[in-house]
Symmetry: C3
Subunit: 430 residues, 3 copies
């Protein structure tokens, strides 16, 4: 995963344009090639309250100082150009230039990441320590950029089908529109790509899995505009992945009502991770803002390590490849596997016997009773299989992860000691 | 307000009689004159489980000691006579007198306030330090009081109409039957009178406001006997005001089920006030006892500073004009204004756009995204406008007072980004 | 009660057989004779997922060591024989013997209680300190035991009728299948027998009381197999009594959903007992395992002092008559009386007056109001008689035991100030 992040890192992405398309292609190849469906929508299209912006083309950008030095060189670091900037080719005074410079006084050696998608501006981002050294004089400012009003916005998706005849879907969403930053947001796309690879190789999948790789905000709005009714009908749970490449504690941003299956399974899986932090929807930040908006109302939580904005390097050149690691990406990948395994094993079961079953005669329990012995987990599980609790509920009571019950549930199904909810009739006496 | 309290203080009030009528007249004049509707009900009338008591007339009362000294002089302090006392004119021994004296051993320099409404007695209230000095001998006891069986009980109300066509009412209740005591209970009537004045001057009022000035217990029973069905149908929230002239922390006495709009708005408004105290209905004491009785079941909470009975001066001559202040009355007045403003702004809204609206294009948000910026409060508010949360719910999540959202809501309504509950249809897709 | 325990202690009981029958007879005599109905079911009968085991006959058992010493003598302590053991008469080596010996390494001077009901084995239970002294050589092992396939399993019940025409039942269940151990489980049967005696002597009983004395697990399964529908229809609350003869704090094992009347009344009664411990259904152990199994779903909690398994002496010869006492049994008996009295007094009442009633005119309250006086409990009780709260709810609010309200409720009923739920009409105005 770290290698994939390294390959994607240098590309200058934005919400539209060649960098975004190139990045989708690299991701697709990492998944085996021909896996992702890449879509486009014409600039100017109306999507709910928004309009799809023009396609941005950026080729080069720099400033020549009065001393003839080339600074803010796009080819050195693409963060130097205001993302989605207009083109410019001019000579201006330092005062004029200052109005187009962005820097962070409290973080003088970092280039900030600044965007202006919905108002046309031009500008450069610069380390504050370099900005203060600029002298009076004439500056040549050059940005070779264009906005193509007849361009497109791209996004990709992938539907991995259930191996059963279930229509329910699990949504995994991430965004890919940020230029050269590692945690926010190459960690999400990279982990999502590997999750998709893993799911494709599984022999059994209860659910359909829908992956979305789109630009932040406008990308998810475009996607929802096209698929809203389908998603509202079929999405059982969804996960927006963001900032999951660092090695800090896990964070969960819950849905507005904090009561969906996505909240439940994420909380079940993450609650025992070291220093886990739970946030309300007030702390939202990525595409969950659209998925959970009141009239959309999808069951989507956001899973992070350090929450966006809670680390100093966020949205600067310091969020580079040294801020993430293969170990951290791998740990996040495994945690998301656990979430998925917990969802896959989840079901409502009902015991089939009146009273406890005789576990001993089925070799599910010892036949010799020697004083204090712990009840077998099978008995504890069955004690709560009342046709109302699901496996997540019972596993939480038992203080284990739901997926750890998988083999036991298979055994109990084999012995016909439990039946799943769709076979439960109103009257258990029949 | 303090001046009005001073004017009312010397009058000897009881649950019936001239003192109560005179006090109502003074309150009415303070509100502009001709504002209050003053009602009467004949003594002997049956009201639910009760009977309206005879009208009390008190002119004078005193004791002449064996030494010829005049003590317990009603004209010095009207608390000296047992409130609602029978008349007497007799010479009796000290032993006989003792059976008709009331004092507080642990609070020797205070005259207690004692009443006997439903059993005819005569008696005097005296400082304990004076009582212990009484010598053997003949005492002349004189009370010039009568009970008029053909009298009346008075009460007043005032309905300030909604400027919209809404029938819902907010109830403000207070009682005026106590003689010369300041906090309990001139603070309630005085603050209520000024609230009414303020509401009358407002250009816009969503709700109707019903003010009741009545004797405690029997007065509210009389009122409920006459208006029960109307009040049950139209009362959205009510507030019994009591002991709100001192400068201590606010107290709230909740309804029995603690789940009405009155509980919700009072808690929302008071929860952040210093040292705020929340009480259950077990700690009730004033007219909320009747309003919240099970078959009446109106949504009425009681708002106090120090709760009745929780301060030493309560129901004694020490609850005098030095115990309250203009500053404290003003602070209580403002807090009740906040409660009313929070009610007025409260409504259930639903966002009108799928996904977040584009706030930038309406100048409701900046268009330049520079790293970590706090989301605008408009976005936070809209994120919870799901047609179920009301403004109080959302303001509580946002940790601000509901009325602080008023301008924002007006802006969002202007941009048609939210619609109120009565315009919400079942299917938001239509 | 302690005497009765002493009489029962020496008998060798098991889930079937003469010892169990003899114990039932002694219990019945302690209750007056002819009180218990004793039932039997044929060995081999199918009961839900189980089969009734053969009847066990045990006459003698011992081991003769190579030195000719008689050890593990059944006549000294019936715990020495593996409960439900097969017969044997053989000479074997120490190695062979070891496979049939049971002892507790960490508790070397205790004989463990071991059973093998559903797999035929033979064996001896021995103090570990004696086991380690055994030398090489030939051992004579002798167990005079038989399994009668045409035998029966016995259990007893008793229905004490309501003195009203109510069909609701309270279930008291205990088990009697353990041999010579005192707390687990002679304490339960002994306390249950005395509770039945007390209930039989009461002049008034709102509920029917059903007592069950049966072998653990298989006994309750047999009982449920026969009476399931009746019990599901009529059982309002039930109590499994176990380990209630020691002098430690009370323990409550709640039902799976922790929300039945049994949970509510037990919690109400026990919550203020010193060091009271509340357990979830995960900590179940006795017949509540069957009563609360998902498809049976009866409202039965288990009441203990120290929970089974939480004391060292549990299921060993150390759980002897010195571990329990008359004082502790008496205290447990009284606590169960309180639970029953709280159930008997429980009812939903509705006040009959609009507003508070005039308590003074009925001599239910003083008529002289002298400053701060505590409101009478009658007023507090009536304030919550809304036709929804039951007496347990109100008593919990008032921080007293429900049964302490009995006299007050009688007075309020006498004055027609409250009416019970069955007389509450939808419209209180009628």
């Amino acid at each position: 995963m770290y290698e994939l992040a390294c390959e994607l890192f240098p590309i200058c992405r934005s919400i539209t344009g060649a960098g975004f398309r190139q990045s989708l292609k690299i991701l697709d190849e990492a998944m085996g090639g021909g896996i992702l469906k890449i879509h486009s929508i014409a600039s100017g299209s109306k999507v709910f309250d928004w309009e799809v912006p023009a396609e941005w083309e950026i080729n080069d950008a720099y400033i020549i100082t009065p001393d003839g030095e080339k600074i803010c060189d796009f080819k050195q670091n693409n963060l130097h150009v205001l993302n989605y900037s207009e083109g410019i080719d001019d000579e201006i005074s330092l005062d004029e230039l200052q109005e187009h410079l962005y820097s962070i006084e409290n973080y003088p050696d970092a280039i900030p990441y600044v965007t202006s998608y919905y108002k046309r501006r031009w500008g450069f981002c610069i380390k504050h320590e370099d900005r203060v050294k600029l002298k009076e004089g004439k500056y040549k400012v050059f940005i070779d950029a264009k906005h193509h009003e007849n361009g497109v916005l791209n996004y990709a998706d992938l539907l991995i089908p259930s191996t059963q005849k279930i229509k329910d879907e699990i949504l995994i969403s991430t965004y890919l529109c940020h230029p050269s930053m590692a945690n926010n947001e190459l960690s999400g796309p990279v982990v999502a790509a590997f999750l998709a690879k893993w799911l494709l190789e599984l022999k059994e999948r209860k659910y359909n899995y829908r992956f979305i790789f789109a630009p932040e905000t406008i990308g998810s709005i475009v996607y929802l505009n096209k698929h809203l009714k389908h998603l509202q009908k079929h999405t059982k749970a969804g996960f927006a992945l963001s900032c999951i490449g660092d090695d800090n504690a896990y964070s969960l941003i819950q849905t507005p009502n904090e009561n969906t299956l996505a909240d439940k399974v994420a909380l079940h899986t993450l609650k025992d991770k070291n220093n886990f932090k739970k946030f309300s929807f007030l702390d939202r930040g990525g595409n969950e803002r659209q998925f959970c908006s009141p009239l959309v109302n999808l069951p989507v939580v956001c899973v992070c390590r350090t929450r966006f904005g809670d680390y100093k390097e966020y949205h600067t050149s310091k969020d580079d490849l040294s801020f993430i690691s293969q170990t951290s990406l791998q740990n996040s990948f495994q945690t998301l596997q656990e979430i998925i395994m917990n969802l896959e094993v989840n079901e409502i079961y009902q015991i089939t016997t009146f009273c406890e079953p005789n576990l001993g005669k089925r070799d599910l329990y010892h036949t010799l009773n020697q004083g204090v012995t712990k009840k077998p987990i099978s008995a504890d599980f069955l004690a709560f299989c009342d046709g109302k609790n699901d496996v997540l509920d019972i596993a939480s009571k038992l203080n284990i992860q739901a997926y750890e019950l998988k083999d036991l549930i298979e055994k109990l199904k084999f012995h016909r000691l439990v039946k799943p909810s769709e076979e439960i009739h109103d009257n258990p006496h029949q």
